[in-house]
């Protein structure tokens, strides 16, 4: 059974061209880029090329790129660096809908004596920039706001937020893991100080990431050791991963229009057809400012894990904001922050497409999913005919 992969916000397929670029560096070209000999030096030159490719896709200087292991590392490094370089500032501003890489770190820092403000979102997942302005204090060390939300695809106005931060003299970090390759951005126009991305979300392999640190911004390394990455990220480079990420960024620049036309059209069709076919369905998140590949659909009266497992029987891969799938007992923190009613939140499914999806993929989901929802609603004791959901003791 072929796999119909619509979970690209979780991870993506390595592009064949990326794999091809990487392969020689697993076998023949295994040198250490830090070595003095030509054999290692050749790998070092390839890493420089990768750095230039990543920088080109960000609109920054190659010297502003640090390679690391993942998006989480970039987030941790940026936040900890901003705090370490300003020891007198003890306040952090972030949002309630960040990825756990930011959220759990900030919660941890609160236990260590820092103070944090978590900006809320409205029912469509949007931030209130006035709330942000009001939250900034004289001792605010950093504003960390994601570029786009992984669950709903809602894009935040990072340029405006970064301008507010700059105007108020506060450092600004953005987790851009979900936007790379999906939304064009240029760091010459967006005055963020730090930005983090991850390889495996843009058709490069897992285990490699990159962060941007604006020239002139004080930086405190997270990883100590050797002089790799000019002493800013110690540890022997993941050469193949970095080469793959460089190639993936180059491809992403070429494909970003495709993402915003072809992939967007597939997403729109999927969304529209499912809403037409399944009553009591809604979209989580503001419709007109979303990643082109993402839709978060909420089906009332059914539970997400059950939907996913039934989709799995057709080889369809998606994800859910329901409680049961996350291992926690409550629906996703993003949907709760948006105030999505429980009757919908438990039945939320995220489809995230990529350039490897086809019209046939969409057609299959459109054909099968309504039947699945219908079947689960038959099993469910809750029905629309009963009117509003019963009051809960919870």
């Amino acid at each position: 059974m072929p796999v119909i992969y619509m979970d690209n916000n979780a991870t993506t397929k390595v592009d064949p061209a990326v794999l091809e670029e990487m392969l020689p560096y697993f076998s023949e070209q295994y040198g250490n880029p830090s070595s003095m000999h030509m054999f290692g030096g050749m790998v070092g030159r390839k890493l420089s090329e990768a750095r230039e490719r990543v920088a080109a896709s960000f609109g920054c200087q190659p010297g502003e790129i640090i390679f690391n292991a993942c998006g989480t590392e970039g987030d941790n490094t940026a936040i900890r660096s901003a705090l370490a370089s300003q020891p007198d500032k003890r306040h952090i501003i972030t949002t309630r809908v960040e990825h756990p890489a930011v959220l759990n770190l900030v919660k941890h820092l609160e236990r260590k004596g820092y103070e944090a403000t978590y900006l809320g979102v409205d029912e469509q997942g949007r931030l209130d920039l006035e709330e942000l302005r009001d939250a900034i204090r004289h001792d605010t060390a950093l504003i960390s706001v994601m570029f786009a939300n992984n669950e709903t695809g809602v894009i935040f106005p990072i340029k405006e937020i970064a301008e507010i931060a700059k105007e108020r003299g506060v450092l600004m970090h953005t987790d851009a893991v979900q936007v790379l390759g999906k939304v064009p951005f240029d760091l010459k126009d967006i005055p963020v100080d730090f930005l983090a991305v991850s390889g495996h979300k843009v058709h490069a392999p897992k285990g490699v990431g990159a962060m941007f640190v604006r020239k002139g911004v004080q930086f405190r390394p997270f990883m100590m050791g050797g002089h790799q990455e000019h002493g800013r990220r110690a540890g022997t480079e993941n050469t193949t991963g970095i080469i793959g990420l460089g190639k993936a960024c180059e491809l992403a620049m070429g494909n970003v229009t495709h993402e915003n036309t072809v992939v967007r059209a597939l997403r729109d069709k999927l969304e529209k057809k499912l809403i037409e076919a399944v009553p009591d369905t809604r979209i989580n998140g503001v419709v007109d400012s979303r990643l082109p590949n993402t839709t978060s659909l909420a089906f009332q009266f059914v539970e997400g894990e059950s939907i996913l497992l039934m989709l799995d029987a057709f080889g369809v891969c998606a994800s859910s904001g329901s409680a049961c799938t996350s291992g926690s007992l409550e629906p996703s923190h993003v949907l709760r922050a948006m105030g999505v009613p429980f009757t919908y939140a438990h039945g939320s499914i995220r489809f995230s497409l990529s350039r490897f999806n086809t019209e046939a993929d969409v057609d299959l989901v459109v054909a099968e999913l309504p039947k699945i929802i219908h079947r689960l609603r038959e099993i469910s004791p809750f029905k629309r005919t009963e009117g509003e959901a019963p009051a809960c003791t919870c």
Partner: protein, 280 residues
């Protein structure tokens, strides 16, 4: 991805006995939409008190649907009394086991059965309305929690959450859960005012020795029962520095243990101002 057994998958994909019984003898309802799972159980009972038909409607994950299906299969043909002997472990075993985080699905099955039988006997809806609500997020009462601890021999706060969902939301009730757990464990009973009168006017040396004695003779053996241990590192004024060992060192509720059990015991026995801190 949850690791479900083939039996769970089978009862999820092709659940048995789905639907309503129009002329049901009784109905049992537990859970709610907000909680993320709910089960409505219909029973048809004949004049000999035998369950001749059982059907269900479930909102929830695969294991909730499978547990409901399993329950109806297990109780059909049994007398009501025989059916009441089916425990949540029996449901889980029938399905070849459930992931531990999903055990609450089997508990929900058992609760629906109890609710249906209470309905049949004309009793108030048990067990949800009995006792005091401990977990407000999921509406779980102390009665339900005590029962789950006793029936499933639960040893940690996390296990209580796995089996009853209590504590899985905001976490505000975790302290109360630890208390209920402590209360159920003979070994931890001395938490309650059994403690001997607190000595007064101790010298520093006497205080340190007393702390050391209580840790070695009471607290440490009690933690060892759960595969953990504790070691006294230092006493700095009113601060007692300890290191957790074994299962405790990796246990998520170790901070609760530290505050709810170790600190409380030492405060009761030695000095109400003592603060216990973990050295890592």
């Amino acid at each position: 991805m949850w690791e479900y057994t083939d039996k769970v998958r089978e009862h999820f994909i092709n659940p048995k006995n789905v639907g309503e019984i129009a002329d049901a003898s009784c109905v049992g309802e537990v859970g709610s939409l907000a909680c993320g799972d709910a089960l409505k159980l219909f029973l048809k009972v004949d004049e000999n008190d035998r369950i001749v038909d059982a059907k269900f409607q479930t909102f929830g994950c695969a294991s909730a649907i499978a547990s409901s299906s399993a329950l109806t299969e297990m109780i059909k043909g049994k007398t009501v009394d025989e059916a009441m002997d089916v425990s949540n472990q029996d449901i889980a075993e029938f399905l070849g086991g459930l992931p531990k985080e999903k055990m609450h699905c089997s508990v929900m099955g058992k609760e629906a059965l109890e609710a249906a039988v209470a309905n049949l006997r004309g009793l108030p809806m048990a067990p949800h309305e009995e006792g005091e609500v401990v977990c407000e997020c999921f509406g779980v009462t102390d009665t339900t929690i005590r029962k789950a601890i006793a029936e499933n021999n639960l040893k940690t706060v996390e296990e209580i959450t796995d089996f009853t969902k209590a504590g899985g939301g905001c976490g505000k009730c975790l302290d109360k859960l630890a208390d209920l757990l402590a209360e159920s464990k003979g070994g931890l009973k001395p938490l309650q005012p059994v403690a001997p009168a607190r000595p007064t006017g101790l010298t520093n040396l006497q205080r340190m020795k007393l702390i050391s004695k209580i840790i070695d003779e009471e607290i440490s053996p009690s933690l060892q029962k759960d595969g953990g241990n504790i070691e006294l590192v230092d006493v700095d004024g009113k601060t007692v520095l300890v290191q957790l060992r074994g299962a405790c060192s990796s246990c998520k509720s170790s901070q609760l243990t530290l505050k709810q059990f170790v600190e409380k015991r030492l405060r009761d026995a030695v000095d109400p101002d003592l603060v216990v801190e973990e050295v890592r």
